[in-house]
Symmetry: D2
Subunit: 259 residues, 4 copies
Amino acid sequence: MGSSTSESIKEGDWVLIYFDEKRKYVVRVEAGKQFHTTMGGIDLSSLIGKKFGDGDETNVGEPFVISRPRLVDLLETFHRFTQVIYPKDLGYILLSSGVGPGAKVVEAGTGTGYLASVLAYYVKPSGRVFTYETRKDFYLKAIKNFESIGLLPYITAKNKNIKDGIDEKDVDAVFLDLPDPWSIVDLAYDALIHGGSIVVFVPTVNQVERTVVALKKKGFKLIESVEIMMRKLKAVQGEMRPETVGIWHTGYIVRAQKL
Amino acid sequence: MGSSTSESIKEGDWVLIYFDEKRKYVVRVEAGKQFHTTMGGIDLSSLIGKKFGDGDETNVGEPFVISRPRLVDLLETFHRFTQVIYPKDLGYILLSSGVGPGAKVVEAGTGTGYLASVLAYYVKPSGRVFTYETRKDFYLKAIKNFESIGLLPYITAKNKNIKDGIDEKDVDAVFLDLPDPWSIVDLAYDALIHGGSIVVFVPTVNQVERTVVALKKKGFKLIESVEIMMRKLKAVQGEMRPETVGIWHTGYIVRAQKL
Amino acid sequence: MGSSTSESIKEGDWVLIYFDEKRKYVVRVEAGKQFHTTMGGIDLSSLIGKKFGDGDETNVGEPFVISRPRLVDLLETFHRFTQVIYPKDLGYILLSSGVGPGAKVVEAGTGTGYLASVLAYYVKPSGRVFTYETRKDFYLKAIKNFESIGLLPYITAKNKNIKDGIDEKDVDAVFLDLPDPWSIVDLAYDALIHGGSIVVFVPTVNQVERTVVALKKKGFKLIESVEIMMRKLKAVQGEMRPETVGIWHTGYIVRAQKL
Amino acid sequence: MGSSTSESIKEGDWVLIYFDEKRKYVVRVEAGKQFHTTMGGIDLSSLIGKKFGDGDETNVGEPFVISRPRLVDLLETFHRFTQVIYPKDLGYILLSSGVGPGAKVVEAGTGTGYLASVLAYYVKPSGRVFTYETRKDFYLKAIKNFESIGLLPYITAKNKNIKDGIDEKDVDAVFLDLPDPWSIVDLAYDALIHGGSIVVFVPTVNQVERTVVALKKKGFKLIESVEIMMRKLKAVQGEMRPETVGIWHTGYIVRAQKL
């Protein structure tokens, strides 16, 4: 996860267990715990002290290699209890917001914690993410998710309705992934620094419409509404073609700036 | 640029000069320099000491407001002498590589410096980007670009053909934006840490084909070939529709992992 | 235009004048008329009696070949005074309506006459298109367009608001290309045979929304809303890729059946 | 199927049996035959003499309505033994070819007979489709398919390899839906009238590449390579959005003209 050191694997590290192109697993090393896969069981204690790139076998003799997961692999380990945001959207949300290391940002609702995690990963170590969630159960599970991948130190999770107010001032960006983002537009404006961005992710055109109306009314500038589509190629030599079936829609990204 | 401080504008700072939705400019504050716009001239010295959000007027009385540019706004100021990579692609390239703060990455060719800048922005302050460029003129201009937006401290630019060898070892990711990425696949493999990603950006299907063949041959795993499309909405209340004309193609992103 | 005879060109025939890949013209042969191109003038009388495939020269010696235009080439000759419908949409509109030779169909508004012409072309010789247009000037120009390409015998053009009633009964399909198709849904239902299709073409999502609501309310079944996108390839050997810029949006097609 | 008469249903007619939005069936009325559905059985003899729009019940009392199927509904009844072409592609193939009533066209390979059927439907009654298929079993099944929907009178099916020669001369268009269309390009050129179109449908970019090279070499003009994408909308009032998952790729359409 961004570290180029080649030290030994220790308890609490996340590892990528790779068998083959169809079977790979991301798991956290915990002493005394057994990890079950379709290729057999792995005694996680036995991974401690090994190096990334080392190989091993399951208890039924299936060989695997131990490697490093990426951030997006770690997100896949989250217990998903709400709709998640895809990497194609997360990447554009991040870049269009202008947010980077050191930034202070607000996000709502927390949900599974995908977006907050990506933001925390890219604002750390000196930046901070403040994330709001009304549902207590979601809030508690999200905290577990953040903790599990080591990003909790950079996130302040709040079990609070963002509509009741944004506690933070002079934030670099506000990210909204909730059903009625238009109702937060005024609060977001007040919380943002001059030049800061509001970024909204919504699945329907009607939500884009209401959001853009609210943004204009509040005086936000440089409003942009886009959708990001990812098309996979079936890259076989001599038979190059896009995949037949795929995801055509996840949501729209609306971005605007306080200017 | 990721800073939430509200201190005064000083020489060397980048500012966003906003007149209206069609007229905005990104410029670096230099004492004694005049900046010319279609709305009149601005004496840049006069901006020093102002705060972000303050307003002012051009020498012909046109009002503007001074604000903070985002990373992608700064990239727009680069003198472009090669094809650049768009934010929609940069965001996915970044996320799919797994690279974040602290990472050590290699990139070639430098070109205008778009990709190296984005990488530097997201690996700083503790990470580093090593970027290779064969053409001396491009190399020199890219260094100027990096310097201008303050990212040079995190970038090692080399006027060297990456085919002659990658000097770095145990890098977290290798990014290739050049015409024949397949010829670098073996070198990239050797330079990567276990679990590290190679990410290739190419405009044609034939290049994807040759790259994927080379990646498979070398033993790279989890090879994925995608294209990212961005479609803009014309968001007018009661008349919501996608824009009529837009960009349909920039390039394909091929990603694989050393496993 | 669908005729495989190889008889001689005669007055009133449409011909395709082909110079090269960038310069081609579609013109109707009229005795005594001069046709001006960027490659020089052509005395149209001189084409009479020639055969398709014959070559000739302009008055400045530029060689061209005389050939047959397709229906879509003929449509390009229409004086365009309203937004036209593209072949990608026309083809799907036709097929999804189920309309073929012998069908009796209603269309509104006539506009430039693109859709009525395509329908007439595919229902002829025994079928018929009834097309409604409120604006007298459009109606008169459309008749000229129909006449010019020989489709007027299969079209009944009416200078009448379709909202005031559809005169025809038991029609196979109703096609609506006007701003408020929802207001015609009830009339269309009454005019259709059982099993007949209504096909609506509209540019905005809001129009799709209102149309679908009206269709459901009236009891139409098998309602389907789609958009057809055409992406061009830049097919150069060894450099296969989609075109960089293209048309991303024309309109949505809503289809339903009276069942 | 394009007929606006309201006469009674008779043996041999195709009917659309509509229960609800999820359950509809297309079946040919045959006396003495029982048709089984998930909603119960229907004695097809009982439909004879009824009118389109009449209702009836299955043997377990489930109500249905009898209506007219469209051409594309009839194609769905074909026993599919090869990859079929979708309406979105069929519509553009038809329009870009310029083929209409009265045209004489050649097609290969016949396959399931989708494309030949669409062509026959739109060139009838005076036009004709000549379709080539090397596999005897496909050829025999396709004839059954053509016969079943009443289009056999307009189609000459041949159990012959089109590579061994095109028997027809002066045809308006040649349609190729086979793995190596480039090998038929010369034969197609010779068979076409001047101005006639060749239209090729292939799934991979490599096939487009080889086809375009062959077309250029033979002297075909106005070569165009496109793909047609259809995106479905989930049209729910207040929640308008594209469908999440859908078909992203079927094939590419290459068209060129003999000029």
